[in-house]
């Protein structure tokens, strides 16, 4: 089964953020591990939330990211690009700070 998380950037800071949905409530988190993992149906509903958030000027450029769910609410990324985006630069000065 296909799984997804919803990601975007904070408008104000530019930081990479993920959508976290709990019941009817939702918010944006900078910790990838706490992103909500959804199936295809949830993806569409959550993307609609994210796009509304973009219209409310809280985030920019939201999109759904393919992930592999671990069944316990966690996930791993399927591409190097997304795992680097989630984890930050893999080398250099960014690591020291």
């Amino acid at each position: 089964m296909e799984h997804y998380v919803i990601s975007a950037n904070s408008l104000r800071s530019g930081a990479v953020v993920w959508l976290r949905v709990v019941g009817d409530a939702f918010g944006w988190t900078e910790a990838a591990a706490t992103a909500s993992v959804g199936d295809a149906a949830q993806r569409d509903a959550w993307l609609a939330i994210a796009e509304a958030e973009a219209r409310q000027n809280r985030v920019v450029a939201p999109y759904a990211v393919d992930v592999v769910a671990d069944g316990a609410g966690g996930f791993t990324h399927t591409s190097t690009r997304e795992s680097v985006r989630a984890g930050g630069p893999t080398v250099g000065n960014a690591l020291a700070r």
Binding site: R85, G92, N93
Partner: protein, 555 residues
């Protein structure tokens, strides 16, 4: 160096004020992202893989100590304490918050800097030889012409929405250190038979997915006609360049489609039809700008080589002299290169502390001036020969005396997938792996000049097509793989590299480079460059060694 006049100051301050207002309107929702994006890009602010990135223009790569300290302060206050020098002599800050971006621009304006035209389909930062005004082989100083081009192109109403971005490089020396053949316009200062200064004009060079070397469309253009002629080139491009396909929109595609001769004729016709006198650079105009680039007050020193005696006693100093110190047109002065490379460094990265230290050393030893090279290093351009030992000691303490300039580990690398939203693979870890595989400085010196350039995608910001060894990272089904090319060069007799063979996984790249270098070391004739050997042997001689016994990765 060039100093802003009242007009420049007012203009830049006004732009900062406008951008502050635009950001405020974006944050409170009066501007949508679609409305705001072009405005932020016009001020050099990109949204990258992790965050907003601000690209700051360093006109033709020249900085004062005061400016470098301001960049350090920006790195410390608004970023994560470091910046990244690019292959276009600019600096990028990777972690700028949108709600602080106008403050950064204000801090830049304080030291006569900005980020205008570092993005968008306009004329970008004009680049030049990092040894401009210094090199013994210089015909004329290109910087006054670069500055005139900068003034002419800044917010030029006709050329603010070109089909695609537009890059101009100028060299004033016999040896091309500015890679003019791979720019949209390449300009080479030349003298005619009567000794008058003019330009050889190349157009249509570029890298990216369609690498092409520029074609000469004019052997000699009187220097006073520079702006009119460049304007004519831009007009022809603006009118006929493609806008339907981003991959075919650069001027190189138009020049190739029309043929360089026909393109040149169109430019000549446009030029003949314009008010050429009105566009001419008169002597007063040139002198006014050239004053800013007058040589510093060199001391009257004996023409000696005081560094030689010490080099006899200090092998490490001798190695640094051999690789990082270059001759100066004033005999008792030298140009000193500071490699932002080696020892696990990220090519082109500098911390705030490094920038401040270099700014201090420039003030002490080099008239407070620093240059940024397109190979992502720094230069102290005017060091008295008798100060070299003292400077070397100071650089060594700061970890900035790595004697590797021009060697295998002086690698050009774009930020790659560690930072860039366009990248398809990482470039920095590959540079670091090669760096680790060639840690022996004596060996590096034995190998000698060998340029390795790494790009993390086909856009080729890492100039891989023109490296002796070029490395291109691509994504293959979510995995990073790397394609090697051999025999590229951006210097005189420029050439594009030839693909060596199937792509390699990341952990095999440094080993492949090692085997390529082994072939060079075994087969070279005395004094033969890597490029000459590749041209003599062809890539197959290298291919057999690299792929022998190696499982190629999904050819």
């Amino acid at each position: 160096m060039y100093r802003y006049d009242q007009l420049d100051r007012t203009f830049v301050a006004e732009r900062v004020r406008q951008f502050r207002d635009q950001v405020a309107r974006r944050l409170d929702g009066r501007l949508t992202e679609d409305e705001f994006k072009p405005l932020r890009l016009q001020n050099g602010l990109y949204l990258q893989l992790h965050a907003y990135m601000l690209r700051v223009a360093i006109p033709y790569g020249v900085l004062s100590s005061r400016q470098l300290r301001a960049l350090a302060a920006i790195a410390r206050t608004y970023d994560k304490g470091y910046g990244h020098y690019t292959t276009r002599q600019n600096i990028q800050f990777n972690w700028i918050r949108l709600d602080q971006a106008a403050d950064v621009l204000a801090a830049l304006a304080e030291v006569e800097m900005h980020a205008i035209q570092t993005s968008g389909n306009c004329v970008r930062n004009v680049t030049t030889d990092h040894l401009a005004g210094i090199a013994p082989d210089e015909i004329a100083d290109p910087r006054p012409y670069c500055e005139l081009l900068r003034q002419w192109s800044t917010l030029h109403p006709e050329f603010s929405f070109l089909p695609r971005k537009f890059k101009i490089a100028v060299t004033g020396a016999e040896a091309d250190r500015a890679a003019i053949a791979v720019h949209d316009i390449g300009l080479r200062l030349v003298l005619d038979a009567a000794g008058a200064v003019g330009f050889e004009v190349l157009v249509g060079g570029g890298l990216g997915r369609t690498p092409i070397l520029g074609s000469v469309i004019r052997r000699f253009l009187p220097a006073s006609d520079l702006l009119g002629y460049v304007e004519a080139i831009l007009r022809v491009y603006n009118r006929y360049g493609r806008r339907d396909n981003i991959y075919k929109a650069r001027i190189k595609i138009l020049v190739k489609a029309l043929g360089a001769e026909a393109f040149g004729r169109a430019v000549e016709a446009e030029w003949q039809a314009m008010d050429r006198d009105g566009m001419a650079i008169d002597a007063g105009m040139l002198d006014r700008v050239a004053t800013h680039f007058a040589p510093p007050a060199y001391a009257e020193l004996a023409d000696a080589a005081p560094e030689r005696a010490q080099a006899m006693r200090e092998p490490a100093f001798a190695r640094w002299l051999a690789r990082n110190v270059l001759p100066h047109r004033v005999p008792c002065y030298r140009a000193v290169m500071i490699a932002l490379k080696g020892g696990g460094a990220v090519p082109g990265d500098a911390t705030a502390e490094t920038m401040e230290r270099v700014a201090d050393l420039a003030e002490l030893f080099s008239f407070g001036e620093i240059r940024v090279t397109h190979t992502q290093n720094l230069v102290l351009g005017h060091v008295a020969a008798h100060d070299l030992a003292a400077l070397w000691h100071a650089l060594r303490v700061a970890g900035l005396a790595n004697p590797v300039v021009g060697t295998v580990t002086d690698i050009i690398a774009c930020p790659g997938l560690d930072y860039c939203a366009l990248a398809t693979a990482r470039a920095i870890p590959i540079a670091q792996a090669i760096d680790a595989a060639f840690a022996d400085v004596a060996e590096l010196h034995d190998i000698g000049d060998l340029r390795i350039n790494i790009s993390g995608c086909i856009n080729s910001c890492g100039h891989h097509h023109v490296g002796d060894i070029g490395i291109l990272g691509v994504d293959k089904r979510g995995q990073e793989v790397y394609q090697l090319t051999l025999g590229g060069s951006s210097a005189d007799e420029a050439s594009l590299g030839t693909i060596l063979g199937p792509s390699l996984p990341p952990d095999q790249v440094a080993g492949a480079v090692r085997r390529v270098v082994d072939v060079y070391m075994e087969r070279r004739e005395p004094g033969e460059s890597f490029l000459a050997l590749v041209r003599r042997l062809g890539v197959d001689a290298f291919k057999a060694r690299v792929y022998g016994g190696l499982e190629a990765h999904a050819a």
